[in-house]
Symmetry: C2
Subunit: 592 residues, 2 copies
């Protein structure tokens, strides 16, 4: 225990009668009838210290100088509290420590916010004083959980023969993918390293190198325009294996997550995880990462309404789009016209031009569009949506992608608003059978849906040049409670297929060789079939800890503008530093 007998949270009724040495921070001081009570806190909890002139007058006098967050060294005797003074909410609430000695190790100014789980101080202040924020028990518990999570993962992978191998942070810039962070080289004027967006190529090269089973809890970097749930640097559980099938990799991942859930949450998760094909997920939930803890599924009505009298519906279907709807069971009475206007506004963010609605009443469907729908169509709609009296039916008619985005988002919003989601459930789901490529209409080119190293389904290989959009990938995503926890794939391990893939992605032969020549060459020296997965650790911890803010899982996170409010990074550097790196600043003119 190195200089203390117990941590504060360990001073329970089992220690009554012992003389203990404790070290910690002052949570609170109260003066009461000539006595001083100090709540002493460390990372394990709080214990009450009593300063009584009958025990030590000197200690009492020192205690008078003590303020919140002072650092103390206390020696005293543990005694049981008197009957009426027991605090059942505290692990240590049945005892207190009668202080015999106190030493003030360090003083403290009044902190800008109280050290307590509940705080209404702005996040900016919490980030600027992160070292105080960390003292809030909920923060420590989150980082402890992060530690326990990675420990469980490491123990599992170690037991399965995986080697933890570090890959470089200073590596090569590759234009495919997100924007790289660059690092100018001093030794090689005009040249740059890039920080890795993932260890993808290195882990594949280790498979070429016969390592067979690799993992790393790897830092990755993306210089993206930040959203609330993105960080410039993030951490992924990065796994790669050789000779394994997709089934093997899914099964391994499931066992790993089962261990994590057991060790971190004490929960037994059933295996195998549920699975859903990408197409089905998009069709039923309008999302490639559906939260399946509740219903409100999307129902395709295109066929039923394509010849109806309602132009919005018929035009959407005629134009290659869809009409889909959600049945919000029993919600008709609770949603006024104004409420529905609010939902219409909500879906407009996702590109939906409108939100049609109907309410199922005893004598049929009611609502502004009812009059455009024949009896027959109404019956079809009622039947397809399983509509009963009191249900609210919400329709979007648009391009397929807009219908999915709008209704998928609306479904999530309604699930939350109507509290349809059991927050204590952890619902894992594999999404499989992804498309290999996505077509970017504005650029007139294909992008890799996962990344350019993903293996196409063998039987689709012949379509790669003729009809790239229809090629399926040997790829899979793991979804937890509607969040993408991670994804992976089998990889291309033959040079000719990789070259074809680069070609489909618009690389010239020269570009492919100049950027990935070393990988193409490696494939020619006896490369085993391989594949893997990468899981987002920050998000995993966020979900396990029941937090909603990714920044609460990262010790020293950055803001949405990629700044560190604590250290004030990034910052200016000296002219000498710039000179050494062969750089000039080219600052935007003010007003630009």
């Amino acid at each position: 225990m190195f200089g203390r007998s117990y941590f504060c949270g360990e001073v329970t009724e089992n220690t009554v009668g012992e003389t203990v040495t404790l070290k910690g921070w002052v949570q609170k001081r109260r003066d009461l009838g000539g006595l001083i009570f100090v709540d002493l806190r460390d990372r394990t909890g709080i214990v009450q210290i009593v300063f009584n002139p009958d025990v030590s007058k000197e200690a009492l006098e020192t205690a008078e100088r003590v303020r919140n967050e002072y650092v103390l060294d206390i020696k005293g005797k543990v005694v049981a509290r008197a009957e009426g003074t027991i605090n059942e909410n505290l692990k240590t609430g049945k005892v207190e420590v009668l202080a015999e000695e106190i030493s003030i190790i360090n003083e403290a100014k009044t902190p800008p916010f109280t050290i307590a789980d509940r705080t209404d101080v702005s996040e900016d202040i919490r980030l600027k004083y992160r070292y105080l924020d960390m003292r809030r028990p909920v923060m420590f518990e989150t980082f402890k959980m992060r530690h326990t999570t990675t420990k469980a993962i490491r123990d599992f992978l170690d037991s399965e023969g995986f080697l933890d191998v570090e890959t470089p942070i200073l590596t090569k810039s590759t234009p495919e993918g997100a924007r790289d962070y660059l690092v100018p080289s001093r030794v090689h004027p005009g040249e740059f390293y890039a920080l890795p967006q993932s260890p993808q190529i290195f882990k594949q090269l280790m498979m070429v190198g016969g390592f067979e089973r690799y993992y790393q809890i790897a830092r990755c970097f993306r210089d993206e325009d930040l959203r609330a749930d993105r960080q410039p640097e993030f951490t992924q559980v990065d796994i790669e294996t050789s000779f394994l099938s997709q089934e093997d990799i899914l099964s391994l991942t499931e066992s790993m997550m089962q261990k994590v859930m057991k060790e971190v949450k004490g929960l037994d998760v059933e295996l195998p995880f549920k699975r859903m094909r990408y197409d089905e997920a998009m069709s039923r939930f309008g999302s490639d990462k559906p939260d399946i803890r509740f219903g409100l599924e999307l129902v395709d009505l295109s066929e039923a309404v394509k010849n109806s009298g309602f132009k919005v519906f018929t035009a959407a279907v005629a134009g290659g789009g869809q009409v889909k709807a959600i049945n919000v069971k029993g919600a008709a009475a609770n949603y006024s016209r104004k409420d529905i206007d609010g939902l219409t506004e909500f879906v407009s963010v996702y590109g939906a031009k409108g939100l049609a609605w109907l309410k199922a009443e005893e004598d049929g469907l009611k609502g502004p569009i009812a009059k455009f729908l024949s009896e027959e169509v109404q019956q079809s709609v009622t039947s397809l949506l399983n509509a009963e009296t009191g249900d609210l039916l919400l329709f979007v008619a648009d391009k397929k992608s807009v219908v999915a985005d709008a209704l998928g988002a609306l479904r999530l919003k309604l699930g939350k608003d109507l509290q349809l989601i059991d927050q204590n459930t952890f619902s894992f789901l594999w999404i499989t059978d992804w498309p290999l490529l996505e077509y970017a209409e504005d650029e007139g080119r294909y992008y890799a849906a996962h990344h350019p190293f993903t293996m196409p389904v063998r039987e689709d290989l012949h379509l790669l040049e003729m009809d790239p959009g229809s090629v399926r990938a040997q790829a899979y995503d793991l979804v937890l409670n509607g969040y993408e926890l991670g994804g992976g794939s089998l990889r291309i391990f033959e040079r000719d297929i990789q070259e074809k893939m680069f070609k489909v992605l618009g690389f010239t032969k020269e570009e492919a060789v100049s950027q990935f020549g070393f990988l193409l060459e490696a494939f020619e020296y006896g490369t085993p079939p391989h594949g893997g997965i990468a899981l987002g650790l920050d998000r995993m911890v966020m979900l396990l800890a029941g937090r909603t803010n990714l920044r609460d899982t990262i010790a020293f996170p950055k803001t949405a503008s990629a700044s560190c409010l604590l250290t004030d990074a990034p910052g200016e550097v000296s002219q000498q530093q710039l000179d050494e790196l062969h750089l000039d600043l080219k600052l935007p003119k003010s007003g630009e």
Copy 2:
């Protein structure tokens, strides 16, 4: 086992009679009397596969196409080898597998070097084809050892209540210390992040935050002029604790290393480790990281020779320098004048202007300088050096630092040349009582011997302004077999002492606040006493694995010019990338 019955190295006599599925690489193919023998290799070892037309003609035909490093899938029956064909050097040497089926999973070009532990190919070729180099068993074993080492460290620290916390890679540039790698910010024009030289400040802030016990296997970066044993990025086992004394931290580290030695090498290391004060190490070994596995200690003769007739000696002592010597026991006969000239040249690299020598013969000391030394001086020298007939005595007379450097290096060289070092011993040593500051004569200023956050010895605090050079630090280094494994210290945790320290280091008040204001402020909010240690993981693995090249412990290392020969990083980037980062290149003119 996911699709294979065993790894190749596991097919021993215990598996005789079983039909097995194996996957691996062709180490060698031999055709012999209508049979084909293939040595199949994976990361666990090699097993012999026999293709016999009586078992499968089809398999034999396929095997004819097989070349070195082809990737195979083999099905066959394990049989005992005939008496005369057993290979005792191989774990699997008592058996072979009669192939029933073979499938060529992937082909391979002839590799640029043979996949074997012994190789005389240049390191540049090995680095360019790192994925082939990794297939050499010795490389895999090194990375497996690295994995086992970090696993042992993590398990130990976890059991001691340490939390594994990740600190930022994108952080703030601090001019003190080595040169930073910089990362231009796109969002903040003209501003830069720096890659951390260590997580020093963040780990201290976590102590302010009450985390109490932190560790991280942390990537660190230094843009230094590279030497053979330096890498631009390296990994350290980074540990910080609160409320612990120096003794506690040393003891913790010893227990950790004891566990590492047991789990990685199967060795029982005795605790506590030996200790030596910095002054003593410099005096006896001329080094702050002495290899104490052998003698050849430096002996101070200054007092004995200061009035001798030999001007080189007397002048050195009179000028404030020293005369020290090593007694190379029994080596007189083996070192010719020419050999000694070689040693003289060797010490000249360390600034020594000469290397005086004497040989102890039956009738006294002989050699060119003998005539300058009186009988009395010769007796003193003989006695102090414990010289006996046949000994070779080597002297350096110079400034203290030159004497230490030259004789320290000479001692190591002789220890190696004369094979005085037991290569199977692991000899740990703490160096304690370091000076806090070093004076840089050329710049006329003090530098922090460890770093600016090191706590001075309390009783020396009053000297910090008057006589900074004499202040001792609460710092310690851990030395293993003459290598600095790492070092640590107790840290300053009071604002006023930290401010004094910055002042001694030449910071103005404004500079201190602009660079470290957040740390100084943090110290005012209840900072506990804290301290820690950082151990170089790459070097630790190098020593454990008995390698001599740091690059062999890093999966994808860089060369002395900080290049990656595999991926060709660093490289040029596009104008668009530069524009986004608000940068212009300012390239040196050719010929510069």
